[in-house]
């Protein structure tokens, strides 16, 4: 199709063809109507210019049939276009079950990526061709938007809530990654590259830790962190007096102490780690320590992955094919470095590596004060 013209962005995902069809259909409509209206205007202007000898007898001023015609035809065309567009949109909104989950954390002004096997990267995203990828995204400060033109996908990355999008890359190559929602001074430089790799190459890449050596898979790191920050002291295999068990809760409806209920999704669990007292599980008191300010946004995906693993009945084991780590794809098994000696060391290392471009919340004393106040409350 027209997608290979120099005026088009590369088409490199499963959405590109579906999307481009709607786009070019709309483009055709646009050109058609513009040309029809343009020609009519020029033709009438020339023919009925003042002083021309054209016949002006019996002019029409109202014509219900004509009005109805040109109301109904655009309406019908519009409905067709609406339907086609909505279909693409719904496709984009419904990720397949076996999608490889990757966590994206946006902050002023960089993207941080966490793969399920623990590989982290900044401002680049390596994805395998032919494999659905689901991005679970959150922002640590302001609203960003994750935009890959070649994949025709774009989604806001909102603070305080996980948003998601998915795609299946179809063509290997390097593509632009942009932050498309204005986010502050260096907005235009918040971006990087999406590298779509052949599955073999990708498996190699991720097994060798990408550009950094992965200490452990995301789930293992989550388990370690879970124990290190003492979640396991209270949240055991069964509900106890102090805390509800986290086994089997993922995606379940949870009764809250205030009578309402909520689905235990990423957003809720994140909220319960950071500010547990806001939404207490039914039957439990506000005894859990507040972790806001104590663990970083980058740590939360680890805990989430772990809680998801233990929270899904039948359990998705950490190295199962669905979580698609290196071992599953190239059949050799990834190399893991020894676990970090202790949690403090681990967190410090993490901080050093990840906060290469630290974000300061400038300007607003309120926010700093709220943070300080939260600390003071401990």
């Amino acid at each position: 199709m027209l997608t290979n013209t120099p005026f088009s962005p590369p088409s490199a995902s499963n959405f590109a063809a579906e999307y481009d069809f709607v786009f070019f259909l709309l483009l055709g409509l646009t050109i058609f109507f513009s040309v029809v209206v343009g020609i009519a205007v020029i033709f009438f202007t020339v023919r009925y210019r003042q002083g021309s000898k054209a016949d002006r007898s019996r002019p029409i001023y109202e014509d219900l049939r004509l009005e109805t015609t040109w109301s109904v035809i655009p309406l019908l065309l519009g409905l067709v276009m609406f339907f086609l567009g909505a279909k693409v949109f719904v496709d984009m909104k419904v990720p397949p079950k076996d999608a490889q989950e990757i966590f994206i954390i946006g902050k002023q002004w960089m993207w941080h990526v966490q793969h399920s096997n623990g590989v982290r990267e900044n401002n680049t995203l390596h994805v395998p061709v032919g494999k659905p990828v689901k991005l679970t995204m959150i922002s640590q400060d302001v609203i960003h938007a994750f935009y890959i033109p070649a994949f025709r996908v774009q989604m806001h990355v909102v603070p305080g809530r996980y948003t998601s999008m998915w795609f299946t890359p179809t063509k290997a190559g390097k593509y632009h990654l942009f932050c498309s929602m204005y986010c502050g001074t260096q907005h235009s430089e918040m971006g990087g590259t999406v590298v779509a790799m052949e599955p073999k190459a990708w498996a190699n890449w991720i097994a060798n830790g990408g550009e950094s050596v992965p200490p452990m898979t995301l789930e293992q790191a989550g388990q370690k962190l879970y124990n290190n920050i003492s979640c396991n002291n209270c949240h055991g295999a069964d509900d106890n007096l102090r805390a509800p068990s986290l086994y089997g809760i993922w995606g379940k409806q949870r009764k809250l102490s205030n009578g309402t209920s909520v689905v235990a999704d990423e957003t809720y669990i994140r909220e319960s780690i950071l500010r547990p007292h806001n939404r207490l599980s039914s039957g439990y008191g506000p005894t859990m320590p507040i972790y806001e300010g104590k663990i970083t946004e980058q740590d939360i995906p680890k805990l989430l992955t772990y809680i998801k693993a233990i929270g899904t009945p039948g359990g998705v084991p950490a190295s199962s094919p669905t979580s698609l780590d290196a071992a599953a794809l190239n059949g050799t098994g990834g190399t893991m470095t020894p676990f970090a000696s202790n949690a403090i060391q681990y967190q410090e290392n993490l901080k050093k590596r990840l906060d290469a471009t630290p974000t300061t919340r400038r300007g607003n004393p309120a926010v700093n004060a709220i943070a300080a106040q939260e600390e003071g409350r401990q």
Partner: protein
């Protein structure tokens, strides 16, 4: 729009502005104008009510607990005060139509007293909240006992809206006091543009009724939450 030419010829229409043909047209123009202004006010407060509805549906329990710190008797007394003042304004408008100057002065006077009384009680309430560190900001929740067990974050959201909505309402009350006082002075001085024409009084009345209207919703929503 019956009269076409010679609109200024009517002897009795000293209060008629040059752009209108007759008093009838002028009066309705002013009333419709006032109502369109009140429409903007409805949307203005309406936005806050939308925000309130959303957050309250999200954080019912915490808001219920947070609202327990409010002083219901004071809110109730304020409601009574506003209802009475609304009544006196309505009577003042009626008296203005009948050109009973003394009655207008008395009723507007009572309204003024009520309005100032409302603000007085409101400021006592505010003082109490400030002493209990219940105003949004870094100091919020310094005294957790006044949160009645509500999650501090959501309670802060509640008090953000509480101060936002009642504060904006109070600003409207202050504007009302200024306008009513101005009108009172005009009546006191027997100024022709109010004594010959009841519409200025009626417009002030409409404004004051609207202030009352907002409070009619604010009071149950802010003070009288049921336990979820």
């Amino acid at each position: 729009m019956a009269a076409i030419a010679d609109a200024h010829g009517h002897g009795h229409d000293e209060a008629l502005h040059h752009q209108f043909e007759d008093m009838d047209q002028q009066n309705e123009a002013y009333l419709v104008g006032m109502w369109t202004f009140l429409v903007t006010e409805v949307m203005f407060f309406g936005t806050l009510f939308i925000i309130y509805t959303l957050y309250r549906s999200m954080y019912q329990m915490d808001w219920y607990l947070a609202h327990e710190a409010l002083n219901i008797p004071m809110g109730g007394v304020n409601t009574i005060i506003l209802l009475i003042s609304s009544f006196t304004v309505a009577v003042a408008v009626r008296s203005a139509q009948r050109r009973e100057r003394n009655l207008v002065l008395w009723n507007l006077g009572i309204t003024l007293v009520c309005a100032v009384g409302f603000l007085g009680i409101k400021s006592v309430e505010y003082m109490e909240k400030f002493q209990h560190n219940l105003y949004p900001g870094p100091e919020f929740g310094r005294h957790p006992e006044y949160l009645h067990g509500a999650a501090p974050n959501f309670a802060q959201l509640y008090y953000g809206l509480y101060f936002g909505m009642t504060g904006l309402h109070a600003v409207h009350v202050i504007v009302g006091i200024i306008v009513i006082a101005y009108l009172w002075v005009k009546w006191f001085l027997n100024a022709k543009n109010v004594t010959l024409d009841y519409v200025p009084t009626e417009m002030v009345g409409l404004y004051w009724h609207f202030v009352d209207l907002v409070w009619i919703f604010l009071f149950p929503l802010m003070y009288l939450m049921p336990k979820p």
